[in-house]
């Protein structure tokens, strides 16, 4: 994994999930988690960019009386890794020219990669993390129909609820919020047994179920 800059995001261990280290960079040693602050090496964002995105996703999926949100789940870490990966360079799109605009039913035809959409979008956010909550909401309201915001919202949901190997859903906090158990071998005995009542097996990640790490696409695709 090539890292062109040496930027770190410092977050409090008590903020990020419970603290579990497997949800962070695999090299961010276990000791950090107990020390109060965790320094997370950034793969794509600068530190200021990460702070702005972190603040924005916390308005999209806030931490409030209905439970923890994007800050605790580490959504910004998820997004940083995705943008640094093949996905960020548009590995999953047909990108041959010519680029023309068409009818909405023909789908997104833009030339910009996810990385470029973020870099331009970050300009529209400015020093977002220094604004107060109401001003942050007002700014997001202005851009809420832009491709950047729609991508940011999609990535927020992905970062809340992905398997923690991707950097989000720290300590399975997203899955705990909605009662999703994660990958399991099955539920043959339970599938028709709990009609009308919540059945909530304890969530576990794929690595926990398998007892070994699984490499996510952002670490394996060229």
């Amino acid at each position: 994994m090539r890292r062109s800059r040496r930027h770190f995001l410092t977050v409090s261990a008590t903020t990020l999930g419970g603290l579990l280290v497997y949800t962070l960079d695999r090299k961010a040693g276990r000791g950090h988690a107990q020390s109060g602050d965790i320094k997370i090496p950034l793969r794509f964002f600068t530190k200021d960019e990460a702070l702005a995105i972190s603040a924005a996703v916390a308005r999209i999926f806030p931490s409030d009386e209905s439970g923890p949100g994007a800050s605790e789940a580490g959504v910004v870490i998820y997004i940083d890794r995705q943008l640094a990966s093949a996905y960020g360079r548009d590995h999953y799109r047909y990108t041959q020219p010519p680029f023309e605009s068409g009818a909405p039913e023909q789908g997104y035809q833009g030339k910009e990669t996810p990385r470029e959409i973020y870099r331009a979008g970050l300009k529209s956010l400015g020093r977002f993390h220094l604004l107060n909550g109401a001003a942050q909401d007002a700014r997001l309201k202005q851009i809420e129909n832009t491709p950047f915001f729609l991508l940011l919202r999609t990535h927020t949901i992905e970062g809340m609820f992905c398997d923690p190997m991707h950097g989000g859903n720290a300590d399975l906090i997203g899955w705990q919020l909605i009662g999703f158990p994660g990958p399991r071998m099955g539920y043959f005995d339970d599938v028709d047994r709990h009609y009308g009542a919540a059945f909530r097996p304890k969530p576990a990640s794929l690595a926990q179920i398998l007892g070994r790490p699984v490499r996510p696409s952002e670490d394996t695709e060229p």
Partner: protein
Amino acid sequence: MKTLRPVDVVIVGGGWTGLTMAKELATRTPLKIVVLERGGPRKTRDYIDNMDELDYAVRLRMMQPIRDETVTFRHSVRDRALPIRQYGSFLPGTGVGGSGEHWSGISYRYYPHDFRRLSHIVEKYGRERLPEDCAVRDWPITYDDLEPDYERAERLMGISGKAGNLRGRQIEGGNIFEGPRSSEYPTPPMKLPHLAALFHDGAHALGYHPFPLPAATTSVPYTNPDGVARAGCSFCGYCERFGCMIGAKAQPTNTLMPVLAHRNNFELRTGAWVRRVIVEGGRVRGIRYVDSRGEEIFQPADLVFLASWTLNNTRLLLLSGIGEPYDPETGKGVVGRNLTHQVTVAAATVFFEKPLNGFMGAGSAGVAIGDFDAMDHSLVNFCTGGTLYTVCYGTRPIANFGVVPPGVRARWGSEWKKAALHYYDRTGLVRFYGEHLAYRANYMDLDPVYKDRYGDPLIRMTLDWRDNERNMVQFMTGRAVEIARAMGAVEITPFPGLKRYEVTRYQGTHIQGGTIIGANETDSVVSMYLQHWRVPNLFMLGASAFPQNPSGNPTLTAVALTYRAADAVIQRYLKNPSKLS
């Protein structure tokens, strides 16, 4: 270009139809068979590592890499076609097994009337009820012709279900509107997750005839007539868009490859990107492809089957100059005509008071009603039918989080989050898929601008809905809302209405046409044995042969037709390799 030693048979595409044909030929003849598959090898034991929603259901690792090749799309010949740059309305799989690995496994037989679609509409309602521009056809075979092959396909896969018509006797609890079956399903129906049970009871209370979805996610351990044993489904909820990690969902890798893998007259070449079918003197001489190392290869063969899905089957004929391309202005030509998708909508999004435990599910665990496949159209403004149903794939959070009832306007922030959390496991869909008629202006040809990774033109889809489909969806949405109320909905969001065809909304990987089956060579590409009319040693497998979409999902019928073609090849063609009559 390197020329290899000739083989007897080349099959292009290692999915359900290609490998079913390979199995029949490899086990019943001494022919030397090569299957060319564009993607890589896949095995059941790989699939446990794939239980990751992001990489598989969002980044779509089972699908053809869209950066290498896509499809262009426009609504009509007046519009400019643009490439589908990211997957949306359909998801073609790649690798051994093709889309048959990541499918959901819903395995209907078509209705008897589907095979006489034109005659049926004309006899019942008169020719004037056919929409303008309609190109709908009768098939050259009937349901009864294909019934024995449906049996074979169901036994191959171990389809779970309940018969609704056994040799003409209607049976409550099954689909009483189905064509007569010669025997019961190979395995009993799947258990019903809560949402499916709610649909069953709601539909039954309204007087409809609910039945369990016929399922290739087999309900109990099953050993098929080839001696291949598979586990029963465990409802893990990682099904459609995934390969089955316990092999319970019938897939080519767990159903056909165990028979083929050790046969010395069978060879599977992965990473083989087929570019041309080479025809000289009215016969196929072989296949030109790029192998996994990037080398151009010519593989001579006596007999060739194209089984590379609807769009690529059509594209290979067009790229290879085989047959006359269809011209929508004149109606002349055959290759590319009768392009259809399937009219697939979330007819009602249903919000419940109590949780559904929706994470438990399988690709074909659900309940349907056939009452609107069998409906009378005398008093409505459309002439086609379809199935209302619910299926419990297994609710996964990235795809499903964020759906809120109609009263909640916010799409981010605290209000949205609170509602989305509450309804995350209290939301289900009443779905509809309906027939898509063929129209003269819906077709495929080669795109003049956009190319694949090797510089070959992409296939271009020209496709749009007509009022028949829009009116049908409006009517069915009304029925879905009634069923949703009977299921105990606290809130309902009806489908807003079908407007123009859109590539951005997933509508099922059920695309038909382009190399259609017919009674004569002037208006079809293949005969009832799937043999090319003009090139007798070329056969076209799969739904590219279907003259229109008959509402149901196509895989079972595509496999049944493959069995029928295999019999004709083995029993008759090999003795006299010429046009079958």
